[in-house]
């Protein structure tokens, strides 16, 4: 078969591939990951690259994503372009999937436990701190004799039972195989790591020489669709020793869960996509251990929270049935497994638990969030909103909980937007508009490269407040604002001119971007209205709103209310609670009661399937305005903007 050489610039990565391979796959093979929201389906138009030597033609299908200018400059969609010549390809920065996430001091905040108060509220400290998933027990065994001739295993069991209540004890054959020698070589001084399977049965995960009780660590992990964050936790004190984050490398197979499921189900990519989530988790673990000087063999537990698709892919379960009606996951309550089974860089017998989910679209991350937020401990009516590609909403109190999920699209994640980008260095995160002046704040204080979700919300709120757009999100056709212009058939607002940006290209916000974001916020608001309706309530019944999610840290709650993403209740009753998925995972790691409680919560929550609710479309359409068709729902906005 004919082969062709391809060089990817500016990195200079070279690869030889078979004729008719596509550029996207060739790039991945050479180690260059090109942004592809749709997973190579040719529908997102994000993987634009420039052919700088050799010949490659855009397909007729992909031409609609390219401007006339781009076609003239030999841009093509990487995923839609077959290689039929030796090529040199320029991968522009905006098309490049960054391999390193820059954690600014600011963004670190959301990875620390910002709501320890909440954690303490929701669980009494003693049970939280002293019932970790795994425990180490030092055993000082009496030497056997003719009069005390118990078998080794019974001797170990007897000593454990002196320290804890354990009706049934279990051990695996591999652990048993090394027991006789290990006990004798270490003068009968050993440490057992135990894991209670249930209240009746305790499993001995390992026996190791000497007294290692001082070193027992766990990992709490939030497996986000975009970002993976993990904490190293001391299981004795509950202290967080470190936190690290990384991209979910699955992004190379598609930006959102739907694209990734398609990749798995129509291209047989389960193994690759499973590896692509395990690898960054291992990379984070390696970094945490190295920085804290902790041995992998002393990590005896990991608790992970993620949405249902992420949890399935992390465990290597087929996600295909999640995507299609009637939306059935393989499991909501996941069996605990061992680190060895997932190739995680921990003690091979370390227990890996996943937070339980409620349904295909309300996953373990939400259960973890409910656990962490403590909303189920109070008679107050609370709403927990986790905003990402999906917006999951839980409403309830200590007596009842209802939940649902709305597909919000990628706008809040900084994607699906002309100049959108993730909340990393150079992303515009805050926008202020006063007259003709635009004030921008970027992550890391760097030159602007694009705009992330919170920046977009800010920008739209400011455009609306300054009446540069109207309530339907449109620029008046007679706008005299010098930053408003028409380009490629779309109206747009220039946030940053070319000389203000890193790429030299303007950062704009288009009418399409605004329309997309209005659809996204409309879906979430409609979902919340329906969920409230289902229990005979409305916005005013909400005592508090807790906002969680990856971008939440930069989110201006008042501006989010102003555009109608959040209900109009007094801002002091709206609170950002950070990465509650991670906090919940840590709670379950530190407390078996918390894990049991999470299981009960997952069972308790009543799931409302919006896709079959006949009122959803009506509510959705009514929410496609800034802030809403019914201005009486937004008295604070009405006061400022008039009716």
């Amino acid at each position: 078969m004919t082969k062709h050489k391809v060089v990817f610039q500016p990195v200079g990565a070279k690869i030889e591939v078979e004729r008719e391979s596509n550029i996207l796959e060739a790039a991945a093979e050479s180690g260059i990951y090109i942004n592809s929201l749709c997973g190579g389906e040719g529908v997102c138009g994000k993987c634009k690259v420039q052919i700088i030597a050799g010949e490659a033609k855009p397909t007729s299908h992909s031409i609609r994503f390219l401007s006339r200018e781009e076609i003239n400059e030999a841009f093509v969609l990487a995923c839609q372009t077959e290689i039929r010549d030796d090529l040199e390809v320029w991968v522009p920065p905006e098309a490049r999937l960054e391999e390193e996430q820059i954690l600014t001091t600011e963004s670190m905040v959301c990875y620390q436990a910002p709501q320890d108060l909440e954690v303490k509220d929701s669980l009494d400290i003693p049970s939280l701190l002293y019932m970790p998933v795994t425990q180490k027990i030092h055993l000082s065994l009496p030497k056997p004799s003719l009069t005390d001739n118990l078998a080794d295993l019974d001797r170990v069991y007897r000593e454990i039972r002196k320290k804890i209540q354990a009706p049934t004890l279990e051990i695996s054959l591999p652990s048993l195989r090394s027991m006789a020698t290990m006990l004798r070589e270490n003068e009968w001084q050993v440490t057992a790591t135990i894991y209670p399977l249930d209240e009746h049965c305790i499993e001995i995960l390992s026996l190791e020489p000497g007294d290692t009780c001082a070193e027992n660590y766990g990992i709490a992990c939030d497996i986000g669709t975009t970002t993976i964050v993990a904490q190293l936790v001391d299981l004795r004190s509950g202290a967080i020793l470190g936190v690290e984050a990384s991209h979910n490398q699955q992004a190379r197979y598609g930006e959102d869960v739907i694209s990734r499921m398609i990749y798995v189900c129509s291209r047989g990519g389960l193994s690759a996509i499973h590896t692509a989530v395990v690898e960054p988790v291992n990379a984070i673990i390696d970094t945490l251990l190295e920085k804290q000087g902790v041995e992998a063999s002393n990590i005896t537990a990991l608790t992970a929270a993620g949405n249902t698709t992420m949890t399935h892919l992390f465990l290597g379960l087929e996600p295909c049935t999640i995507r299609l009606e009637p939306y059935i996951p393989t499991a909501n309550f996941l069996p605990a497994t061992s680190a060895a089974e997932l190739n995680l860089h921990l003690h091979p017998n370390a227990r890996v638990s996943c937070m339980p989910g409620v349904s295909s679209y309300v996953g373990g991350d939400i259960t973890a969030g409910v656990l962490a937020s403590g909303i189920s401990n109070s008679p107050q009516i609370s709403a927990l909103i986790d905003i990402g590609t999906n917006g999951e909403i839980v409403i309830g109190n200590n007596e009842w909980l209802v939940c649902c999920s709305a597909s919000a699209g990628p706008a809040f994640e900084g994607s699906g937007t002309k100049c959108g980008m993730r909340a990393t260095r150079g992303a515009i995160q805050k926008v202020g508009i006063e007259g003709e002046k635009v004030h921008l704040s970027t992550i890391g204080g760097a030159k602007a490269r694009g705009i992330c979700g919170s920046g977009l919300i800010d920008a739209i709120a400011e455009l609306f407040r300054n009446r540069i757009i109207d309530a339907s999100g449109k620029f008046p056709r007679d706008s005299d604002n010098p930053r408003v212009r028409k380009n490629e058939g779309d109206m747009e607002f220039v946030l940053a001119h070319g000389d203000e940006t890193e790429t030299g290209k303007r950062v704009v916000i288009t009418e399409s971007d605004i329309s997309n974001l209005i659809k996204s916020k409309g879906a979430i608001l409609a979902a919340m209205r329906l969920l409230l309706n289902s229990v005979g309530m409305s916005f005013k019944d909400l005592d508090r709103i807790l906002v969680a999610g990856g971008f939440g840290n930069y989110l201006d709650v008042e501006k989010a209310t102003f555009i109608g993403l959040l209900p109009d209740i007094p801002p002091e009753r709206i609170q950002y609670i950070g990465n509650s998925s991670l906090t919940g995972a840590r709670m379950a790691l530190l407390s078996r009661h918390a894990l049991a409680r999470a299981n009960n919560l997952a069972r308790q929550m009543t799931y409302l399937e919006l896709s079959v609710d006949p009122n959803f479309y009506h509510e959705f359409v009514a929410a496609l305005f800034l802030p809403h068709t019914d201005m009486d729902l937004y008295p604070s906005v009405k006061r400022i903007m008039g009716s």
Copy 2:
């Protein structure tokens, strides 16, 4: 390194080995297994082979095992002879470890359940038949819909719970991984194989397409030091579909458990010796499956009974601490494991359970025997005696059980005796002596090749009854019996002349053989006396004696009593119960109650460590007579022989 060629005759097996390898190991490498009771330690003298071409000298150490004639005919001990020349070696039939055990119709009997009456006595039939270790349940699952949107796993659990009580259900990650596709490809018609971990928790071992409930099989296995026997059992009906036996291939590393432990512990041979027991178990399984047309994937459970050393080696546990004071096994209660973990040819998730033992020298075979014999169900005082290389004795009733073990040596297994052989084709099993006439019965009716344990007991009883030997087992120096002769410094009795045997060599019984057997029977009788003493009883308190063990089928109970191996109680109260270890294993396979009962029995039995009993030596010496020093203990013998 220099290499030498060695050919083993009469098979003609060729091998090239390094200079200074020994002949025993070279033979094993070429696939010829030479009898070596001591595991190559040079102390049993059983591995005599003849050098027919090339040169090899016996060592000064080994010369004591060789007669002058043998030295002249170039016999050497295989284990003590280094290869320093190209050799042709003759392996005589008596030195060859047979690879196939010939199951005559007669010997088949002991592998069938001879004591179904006992089995029925000891457990009520319904619980026995309908509570096998594993169960299959056919699940006809309703298809999921938007209104019945349980996750696949919950759907499976719900259906199982409709059929059985199962507070907690568990499944392994690998089983879960294939679930989604499997359920849908098979139209939601599947069969679950379940295994109750305890009364609270049930594990799903596998899910398979369709309704396979009609095919659920198990293997009951007796892992003897010498012979492995297994039955294929229909787990639904309890029917035995087939039985097969094989040598325990560990014999190549030593005849008895002590030699094998030495091999493991001083030569690091655990892996080899573990394989040497798993291989014949697999060979038996393969044969059973082929003969009965059963698929390995439908074998979902195996229950094994063996002495403590065999159980350890079967599971790959270190046996070294069993051998040395204070005689501590790694475990008496063994964790259940999977077929995959032991590389057994069953369904990879099939549950493998081992019968629990009491101590290092009263193992799971004895617990199984107690279970099968039903002695713990009756107020009658019973003794269960399992006679092999060790003689294990259990005495008790439905209220108490005491047990001990006596090292009997290999005489009852047909080894450690000049013309001894195992109970296979050509072994003299019955001996009658009337005047100068000797009547022999061999296994399979073949020409005599040697004498097995039961034949030896018969012969000694007959020699004693005919006063050819005296009560101390000696031939009178003035014996005029033409079959009594002196040879190589030892007195011997010719059972079969050269023209009557297959090998052309005489089969004799020597004074040393008789002395060895008296020591063996003395150890067992002494153990029984001490065990009875420990509960303040004597022979006359025994309501019945049940004899179990490999050779038991040919054992003449009256003759065994006559020589003082068994207590002198009326013969109708002594019963042979066959391979009770296998029967017990089958009971545990068919009934979880029986397995639980075996666990309780193992806990209940009080173990008496004879090696530290100050009275043992006294009792042993007193028993070194035919039948005993105290003839009042043997009134029936006294009547025949006078005092």
